[in-house]
């Protein structure tokens, strides 16, 4: 399992893309997707709603369990990935690409996210 270098990571296993024009993309890591198993239902935050760093903003349902989705950053949701709502297995098959979850316009910097190497070490520990 390799975690893309250009992303940053939370200890709740979300990733955050580089910020472009104030907007970043959020998803869950391959590590988290593997741990959950086949994901069958995702509930994403609504466009226009505000998400807060480390707070719950949706849920991910797998065969065996349901898990809360946390936001790694604070801001306004500007897009939710309808493709993963229609086909949640995208989160398993392409967690860092087509399985992204939502885009957020940051209203505050989140400082304590991990680099790829730090996250890899965190999940190995």
């Amino acid at each position: 399992m390799s975690n893309p270098q250009q992303l940053r990571y939370s200890k709740e296993h979300e990733w955050l893309s580089a910020v472009e024009d104030g907007v970043a993309t959020v998803g869950i890591t391959e590590h988290a997707a593997n741990a959950l198993g086949d994901i069958v239902f995702v509930q994403l935050p609504e466009v226009g709603s505000t998400v807060t760093a480390t707070e719950e903003c949706g849920e991910l349902e797998s065969t065996k369990s349901v898990s809360e989705l946390y936001s790694p950053v604070t801001g306004e949701v500007v897009e939710a990935n309808q493709d993963v709502v229609d086909d949640p297995s995208l989160v398993n098959s392409a967690p860092f690409e087509g399985g992204w979850l939502f885009k957020v316009r940051l209203t505050a910097e989140q400082d304590d996210l991990l680099t790829a190497d730090e996250y890899t070490a965190f999940t190995a520990g």
Partner: protein, 371 residues
């Protein structure tokens, strides 16, 4: 109490296959090897290979072995023919279900009781306690066996490559001694998936060789290793009860809709008879909650313990729920008040974290294989 998990004879093999392991009743067991949905579908359409070595085997032998079993269990074991198997239950004095079991008759006076892993000690203790006064021996054989299961429509063809045993003559719920891949095995046509298939009781030292031989024999028809996760969705689709979910000590077989396993007509007393007679009468006059199937209209998955609601009021409780790979929607088993238990009942919901999601009541099972 030790917290070190018990390992099956196949533990190293599971890890080499990249299995995600999980603690199950004190055993470290494979949850899944890859996608549990793929494993589920393999069993429905091709074949799957399971390690079930956590199940609890207890041998009962001796001149009065069958008398002991008729006294200790609710079934009529004296009607089980040599080489046949029977689904039955062991109950408490008050009628509460201690476990559901399969009893194999291995010889004139030899029986093997297979208990759920989580209850194996309880069943063993109960059988030992109930054996007083019978000329019979109860033997803990949990360490004597590894248990592999090959399940799915391709399983007879796969197993035929490895055994001379007469599989065509082996009926559902029958078992015979034979050899598989050159080693002795009890070959039983039983399983917990709703598909045709076999369970192979082997010496633990032979488990790895037989696993590899089955893997090789099944490679051409798509057999894959399968974990406990898909075993649960397979049995749920097949409407099979799971101890701790549909069956508990606070329910009698009649409350679980399985009163047919209680055989009052057998001679002699058996543990729980009085309480079960009362439970049977209660079930006649005042039907208890019924075990039903629920099919989701939406996509949220009901889980054990969630409430079934009707018009805002609780009318039942989910015992098992999961997304059904075969049906493509979430399904559940639930105990529901008789008034809302008829198949086709509409307006029933499940309270999923505060939202009442619409569900339809259906008869069990959700899935029945075409024979």
């Amino acid at each position: 109490m030790s917290t070190t998990p018990r390992l099956t004879a196949l533990d190293a093999l599971h890890r080499s296959l990249g299995a995600t392991m999980t603690d199950f009743a004190g055993w470290d067991m494979p949850l899944r090897y890859g996608s549990e949905r793929d494993e589920h579908n393999a069993v429905r359409t091709r074949a799957g290979l399971f390690d079930l070595s956590h199940m609890g085997e207890i041998t009962v032998t001796g001149p009065q072995a069958v008398d002991l079993l008729d006294y200790a269990l609710v079934g009529n074991i004296s009607t089980v023919g040599n080489g046949r198997a029977r689904y039955t239950m062991i109950c408490q004095e008050d009628g509460g279900i201690l476990d559901d079991l399969i009893v194999y008759r291995l010889g004139e006076t030899e029986y093997m009781v297979v208990a759920n892993a989580s209850n194996a000690q309880v069943v063993l203790d109960a059988l030992v306690a109930r054996a007083g006064g019978f000329d019979a021996e109860v033997r803990d054989d949990r360490d004597a066996y590894a248990l592999l299961a090959v399940q799915g429509p391709e399983s007879p063809g796969i197993l035929k490559q490895l055994t001379d045993a007469d599989l065509d003559g082996l009926k559902y719920y029958a078992g015979l001694p034979g050899t598989v891949a050159g080693v002795p095995a009890l070959i039983a046509r039983t399983g917990y998936t709703g598909e045709d298939g076999f369970e192979l009781f082997l010496k633990p030292e032979h488990a790895e060789g037989v696993w590899k031989a089955l893997t090789e024999a099944g490679a051409g028809v798509g057999l894959i290793p399968c974990g406990l996760s898909c075993r649960d969705t397979l049995r749920l689709e097949a409407g099979m009860p799971l101890y701790g979910h549909e069956l508990t000590t606070s329910l009698t077989p009649f409350d679980a809709g399985l009163g047919r396993v209680v055989k009052f007509e057998k001679p002699g007393d058996f543990v729980g008879r009085k309480a079960l007679e009362a439970a049977a009468e209660r079930a006649e006059t005042a039907p208890p909650r019924k075990l039903v199937g629920l099919i989701a209209e939406g996509r949220r998955v009901p889980r054990a313990g969630m409430q079934v609601v009707f018009g805002g009021e609780a009318v039942g409780e989910i015992t098992s729920g999961a997304p059904s790979p075969t049906l493509g929607v979430p399904i559940a088993m639930a105990y529901v008040d008789a008034a809302h238990a008829a198949p086709g009942t509409e307006g029933v919901g499940v309270d999923i974290r505060g939202t009442h999601e619409p569900y339809k009541v259906v008869a069990l099972p959700f899935y029945k294989r075409q024979k």
